[in-house]
Amino acid sequence: MNLALHPRLLSPADSPGEHSQSTPINVYPFAFDILREAIGRFPACRTLGELFSALSHCARLLLPSAQTAILLRQPDACFELVFSAPISARGHLRNLSERLIDSGGFAQAVRQGGHCIEALEDEACLLHTIATPRHIYGMAIWVAKDIPALLRQPLGALVDIAALSLDRLQGGAESFLLSGGPETHNGGACTLLDDIAIPADQLTGLAHRTHFIQFLQKVLLDGTPNTAVGIILLDVDGFHRVNREFGCETGDRLLRDVALRLDTALRSQFVYDTIGAAECDLCFARTGADEFGLAVARMRHPQRLAEIATHLHSHVSEGFVQQDTKLYLSISIGLATSHAISGAVSAQSLLRSADSALKRAKLGGRNQHVVYESIWDEAGSPHLRTESLLQEALRKDQFALYLQPLFRLDDMALVGAEVLLRLRISDGIPLPPSSFIPVAESTGQIVEIGEWVLRRACHQIRDWNLRGFPPIALSINVSAIELSRTDLSTRIRHIAEQEGVPPERLHIEITETAIARNEEQALINLEALRAAGFEIWIDDFGTGYSSLKSIKHFPISGLKLDREFVHDLAQNPATQVIASSILSMARNLGYPVVAEGIENADQFEFLRQQGCDRGQGFHLGRPVCIQVFENRFFPARPQDEGSEN
C-alpha cells in the first residue's frame, strides 16, 4: 500500500541540461546509483502502470529530455502501445512506433539481442526489447534529440531489470492481454492493465474483494497481541439511481471519485492516530459494485473505529460534481471489530458481522453507521439463522419439490406443472419460498439452490419417462441473481444434457424485474437458452419493472398473467379491461398466456371466454408433493399395465 517511490525518482530534473552536462565525462557512478534505485524500486511496483512510470523516471534521470514509450506483446503477437511519458507525447510516440515496426526497427532490435538505434529526421530512437532469457514481453523506446552512446548500456540495463519484474507480475505468461481495448478515445484515461499485477479494480484502482479477504485472513492469522482487527463496510445508498438517471458512464466516474475521496480521506495521520494503526495496517478495497471495504489490522484503539465512519461521512456529505451537476450521495456504514466478537474470529465471521451491521444501518434509514454488537448473535438475527438453516437444508436434503399443475383452459388437459420449492425443517411444516428465497438471494445461496432444483426436476422428468408418463413440461423459476450470471445458460444446458432431458421439457420462468437487474447479461442468457431449445416465460407479467419492453426485446415463448389481474376479476371492471387487453395484445403478438392464481369458477370462465390459453391456481389444482401429483394426474399406472402384458 505504501510503496511511494523515492522522491528522486519521481521528479526528474526539470531542466534538460542539469544532468546531461555531466554525461559525457563519467556517467557510470551516476548510472550505478540509478540502477541501484531501480533494483530496489521495481520489485515493489504492484502494477504495470507503476512499473513503467518508475522505469520512465529512472530513464529520465539519465536522459532528462527523453520521451518513453512502452509496447507490450499481445496474445496475437502484435505490439500495443500501453504507456507513454509524457502523456502529451502519446500521439507522437504511437506514430513513431508504428513507423519503427514498418521499417523493421523492431525486428532488428529483436535480432541484435536487445537493442538498436534508429536515427530519424531530427531525433534519435533507442529501442530495447523488454525480455528475460525466457520471454520477450515487449519493447521500450526512448526518443530524444540525441542519445549519447554512453547511456545506451545503462538504459538497457534498466529495461532488463524491469523485465525481471514483469516476469514476477505476469507469472511467466508470454503476452499481456489488454483489458478493455488499448485506449478509449473519448478523453478516457490511458490507464493500462493495472489489474494484471495485483487484483486491482479497473475503475477505481482499489484492491478487489478477493485481495481484501486475503488481507483479512492473513492479519487474523498473525494476531498481534493486544490489538484488534476491524472492518468497515461502506455502501453507497441507492447508487443504481445515479446509473439510471445519469447513465453508467457518469455513474462510473462518480464511483471513481467516491473511491478516491474515501481513499484520500483514509490516508491521513488523524485516521492512523485515532485507531492506533499504521498506514500499512489498512486495506481499502472495492468489495462490491457500489460497496467499499476497509480492513484494519493491528488496531490499538478498536473502540474508536466508529470515529472513522463519522470522518468518512463528513467527507462524502459535501457532495460531488459531475458535468456541472451537483450530486449528493449518502453512504451507509457497518462496522465490526474482532474484540467485539466472542469466540474464534474468522475473516468470514468478521465480514458477516460487519455486513449485518451494514444492513441495520440501511434499515435504520441509511446515511449512518452501525457498530456490530455480539449481543445480536444471542438474540439470533433471523437473517443469519435462515442463512445457516439453508446451508444445512442443502446438506441434509431438506428441500422438496412441489408441483402445481397447469391446464389448457379449453379442455382442462394437463399441459405442465410449475416447480415450487418447499423447505421442511425439523418440526415438519414446509416453509413457503417467500420466507427463505429473499435470504438466499441476499447471501448468494440462491445459485446453489437453483441448481439443486434444476437437477431434481430433471431427475423427475427422467423418472416419468422411464415409467411412461405423459411428457409434460416442468416450469422452473430462475432468480435475478442467476439470470445476471454469465454461466447461466451453459449451466442449465449442461445439467439437462447430463440428465438426458430434452430442452423442450423445461420451461424457464423469469420476472421482468430479474431482467432489469442486468439487462445485457439477461438478454445474452435468454438468447442462448432459447437457441438451445428451452422455452422462456415471463412470470408475474404486468406487475414488474417496465412491462412492455420485455415482450419487445426478449426472445420469449409466452407470458404468465400476474394474479393481480386475476384475483378481483369478478368484482373490478378495471381489472377486466386490463386482463382482456393483455390477452388480446398477447394473441396479436402470437404469445400464449398462462393465467396465474385462478381461485374460482367466475375467474376461470372469464379468462376462458377471453381466449386465455392456459391457467393455474387453487381452483384448478394446488401445489402438491410429487407423490400426490403422480397419484392424481397419472392414475392409470402405465407401468402396471406394461407388466400385465
Binding site: S11, A85, S268, Y272
Partner: protein, 285 residues
C-alpha cells in the same frame, strides 16, 4: 489520451466564475486601510454579517490563537488578537466561507482545507522558530499556497480528474502533470487569483513559486517557508490538496530556514496538535 491542452489564458479568463469574497470582507478591508478607522468600526462591520461574525469568533477561539479564555464578542476578539492578525483572520475566514459549500470531485473540500490550514500552521511555526518579524503573516501564506488547485478543481473538474488519475498511476508529481495538461499549474493560477483579490504581492509570489524555489526572483523567505511547510504537511498526511506523495525538498529553501533536523519534532507536534481544532472551527456547523 490525446493531449487536449487547455490554454492557460482560458483558465485565467474564467477566474471570475469562482465564488467572490463576501461583501463584508471588502467593507472590513476598507475600514482596516482607513488611517482613521477603529476597532469599533471594524467590529460593527463584521457584526453586520452574523454568519461571518460567528465563524470569526469560532476561529478566534480555536487553537490557532491560543487565547487564554473564551471570547464571545467580535470587538474583544479583535482587540486581543491585534490589528495585524485581524487582517489575516478576516481574509482567511472570508476565503474558506466563500468556497466552503462547493462540492468537488475526488478530493474533498475538507481534505483541501485541512492541508491548507496545516500548511499555514506549519509555516507560522517555522517562522516563529526562526524568530522572524511578524510570523503570523506566514500563516496566511501557507493557507493560500494551493488555492490555485481549488480553482482548477472547480473550473476544470474533468481534466483534473484525468490529472489525478495519472498522478495516482505514478506518472509524475501532480503539478508536473498539471503543466502537461494545462500549460500552467495551480501555483501560477493561485497567484493570479490572489492578485485579483488584491492580496499583497509577497503572498502571490509565495503561491507562485512554492514548487519552484530555484527561480532567483522568487527566493523570498515566504516562498522558502511555504515550500518547507508544504513538504512537512504532505509527509504528515494531514489532509491533501490532491498530491499523494511528498514533493522533493529543495536544498536552498531548507538552508534559508536555518533550521536543523532536530527542530522538526516540535514543529510537527505543534502542527498536528493545532490543525484539527482549527479545521473544525473553519468548517463545521
Amino acid at each position: 489520451m490525446s493531449a487536449s491542452e487547455i490554454p492557460k489564458q482560458q483558465i485565467l479568463e474564467r477566474l471570475g466564475e469562482l465564488p467572490s469574497l463576501p461583501s463584508v470582507y471588502h467593507r472590513a478591508r476598507e475600514a482596516m486601510d482607513d488611517p482613521n478607522g477603529s476597532v469599533e468600526t471594524l467590529a460593527q462591520i463584521i457584526g453586520s454579517d452574523p454568519a461571518m461574525a460567528s465563524r470569526l469568533l469560532r476561529v478566534a477561539n480555536s487553537a490557532l490563537y491560543g487565547l487564554p479564555a473564551k471570547v464571545d464578542s467580535v470587538w474583544r476578539a479583535l482587540t486581543i488578537i491585534g490589528m495585524g492578525e485581524t487582517r489575516s483572520l478576516i481574509l482567511s475566514t472570508a476565503v474558506v466561507t466563500a468556497f466552503r459549500d462547493m462540492p468537488l470531485g475526488a478530493v474533498s473540500m475538507r481534505s483541501f482545507w485541512e492541508h491548507s490550514i496545516a500548511c499555514g500552521i506549519a509555516a507560522r511555526t517555522l517562522a516563529r522558530r526562526m524568530s522572524l518579524d511578524n510570523p503570523e503573516r506566514l500563516y496566511l501564506v501557507g493557507l493560500l499556497h494551493d488555492i490555485g488547485r481549488l480553482c482548477l478543481f472547480i473550473l476544470e473538474p474533468a481534466a483534473m480528474s484525468t490529472v489525478l488519475q495519472a498522478h495516482r498511476e505514478r506518472q509524475g508529481q501532480l503539478h508536473e502533470i498539471e503543466r502537461q495538461i494545462f500549460s500552467t499549474d495551480h501555483a501560477e493560477i493561485g497567484a493570479a487569483l490572489l492578485a485579483r483579490w488584491s492580496i499583497p504581492p509577497a503572498y502571490c509570489t509565495a503561491a507562485q513559486a512554492h514548487h519552484d524555489v530555484m527561480s532567483p526572483e522568487s527566493t523570498t523567505v515566504e516562498t522558502a517557508l511555504t515550500h518547507v511547510a508544504d513538504i512537512i504537511v504532505n509527509s504528515l498526511r494531514i489532509g491533501t490538496s490532491g498530491s499523494r506523495w511528498v514533493p522533493v525538498l529543495d536544498d536552498t529553501a531548507w538552508r534559508m530556514t536555518r533550521l536543523a533536523p532536530s527542530d522538526l519534532p516540535d514543529i510537527v507536534e505543534t502542527t498536528i496538535g493545532t490543525t484539527r481544532d482549527v479545521t473544525s472551527a473553519f468548517l463545521e456547523q
